[in-house]
Amino acid sequence: MNLILIKLGIRNVFRNKRRTLLTSLAIGIGLMSLIIADGFILGMKNYMIRSVTDDYLGHGQIHHTKFLKTNKVKFIIDSPEEVEKKLSADAKLKGYSPRTISSALIASAEGSEQISLVGIKPKYESILSKIKTFTTMGNYLEKNDKSHILIGKKLASKLKVGIGDKVVLTLSPIGGGDLSQELFRIKGIFSYGSSAFDNHMAFINLGRAQQMLGCKGCIHEFALKFNDLVNLSLLFEEYKNKFPADGHLFENWKELMPALNSALELTDISMAFLAAFLAILVGATVVNTLYMALYERKFEFGVLLAIGTRKRVLFIIIIVESIALAIGSIIIGSILTIIFGGMLAYYGVDYGGVTYASVPLREPIYMVFSLKQFIIYPLGLIIFTILISFYPIWQILKIPPSKSLKII
């Protein structure tokens, strides 16, 4: 391969500047759409994962093997002290929160509702979840609060209660027997933006919950949060081994929220569809442009063949041209991506609290750039352009020079 072949290809690209510009603009916009869609989906995924894990779930949880399957309060973690010892010794954990979970009846003068009552250690919980942040009215729980409760905003309005009002909690102890019933004062009202939380959740101090459940020191759930977000899957492996399914079981957020996980996988599929669709658009543009550009030059190609150029060499000359076109398009596309994607990365798109896969999109979603987007997609574009240009080139090479050299 000689330099002149490359020169020939590149100069040919710049021959019809307007057509080249329009074509690379079209291809570049295709590339930009792909990268922005990818970055946006990435941003959305990150947000949803972050939101789900930060709001309440944690990155993973430990339960009695049967607790989540049956939802029965009797399945408490076998030896919570041992589990807690392991957790508190692990520097990889950012935090953990021990919880009891039971269903209860909450009643005010105005009515009663079935809720999920969670016993928490306020300090531990504030590291793990956002309850403290989302408690916008009144105050968050403190260690020594004996008869104080946090409830959701919607529950409060259903019960027509406010800060400082009294409610009665009724629940059945783990061992059976008489119902426990206690009076609580509303200390804080939280607003998660998710109806499951705002309608059906309430939090009290862990010790009080254990007392009402009639089991001192019992725990249903440890929610965990790790420091290193990049290597989560490795940590999941490690914790799977650390807490094998004998009595207690570690599960990561994907296992805990399979619906969200499949929703996120679905976005990958939609991304693949988008890529395929854009590929067709880009492909059609390349074939069309190249075919026009080549066909109007068939005389030239006839001359090249006539003076002894092998078809293979002519093929290379034309391929160089389409590669040059692809590279130009990538440059234009990257510039467009940095401009428009940068705006989306900076300002984001606000969904105004719409819920997707039961995750409320409270904050704007920002596009996320990654190096991969600027390697894989452009590379794919070049390979795709080369493959797609085979067709018009083959059509041109098929014309015998004695035909293409006819002037009329």
Partner: protein
């Protein structure tokens, strides 16, 4: 003198069905000797282009053989034919001979590149060819910066530079005015006389054909006259 080119009973039919079958060449026998300066003349449609195309292997005869120094080119495959044209034939067409995106020098050098000539030798031979066609100093110009006559000279330089056995030119002066056409022909004649380059070209122009040393007249696909003048 040795024969470099021989056409033996060459016929060419165009069209597939009997009704539209065109007999462009009818059993043409032709021998070209080294150093000849031959014009092919004849009315439009008489088969001049077809004959030149077949001699160069651009087209296959329906019947007959084409021999270059004894080798039958009608039996060659695609790559062999490409290499044959590259190494043995120089080409000059009526117009648009040159690649518009390459300079005159680059257009000429192209042949040497595909022949695999090393760079230093290429540069020297290109400059020499430019001088031989009277375009010294114009090598850096692009075709659209040259006149029609200059462009045809570049085409001849390109045909010449690869040291072919023969240069075939299909109406090389047809797009030039009579002064420039005449000048081009004089230059070809000079190359023929000083360097011994063998030329076969077709023409309509009586002034041009009178300069030829050998004149072949085609009519209806047949050679009706072949004279040395």
């Amino acid at each position: 003198m040795e024969n470099i080119f021989e056409c033996k009973k060459v016929s060419k039919n165009f069209g597939k069905t009997k009704q539209v079958l065109v007999h462009a060449l009818k059993s043409v026998d032709l021998e070209i000797k080294k150093g000849e300066f031959t014009a092919i003349i004849g009315p439009s449609g008489s088969g001049k282009t077809t004959l030149l195309n077949i001699m160069s292997g651009l087209d296959n005869p329906t019947h007959g053989k084409v021999l270059l120094k004894g080798n039958d080119i009608t039996k060659m495959d695609g790559n062999e034919l490409s290499d044959f044209r590259r190494d043995h034939i120089g080409f000059v067409f009526q117009s648009y001979n040159l690649l518009p995106v390459l300079t005159a020098e680059e257009n000429i050098e192209y042949i040497l590149i595909i022949q695999g000539v090393p760079e230093k030798e290429r540069k020297e031979r290109v400059q020499k060819a430019l001088i031989e066609v009277g375009l010294k100093g114009l090598g850096k110009k692009f075709p659209n910066q040259l006149s029609g006559g200059q462009q045809q000279r570049v085409a001849i330089a390109r045909a010449l530079v690869g040291k072919p056995d023969i240069i075939l030119a299909d109406e090389p002066t047809a797009n030039l005015d009579s002064v420039n056409g005449r000048a081009l022909l004089d230059m070809m004649l000079k190359l023929n006389e000083t360097l011994g380059v063998t030329f076969v070209f077709s023409t309509h122009d009586p002034l041009i054909m009178n300069e030829a040393k050998r004149l072949i007249t085609l009519h209806d696909g047949k050679i009706v006259e072949d004279k040395i003048q």
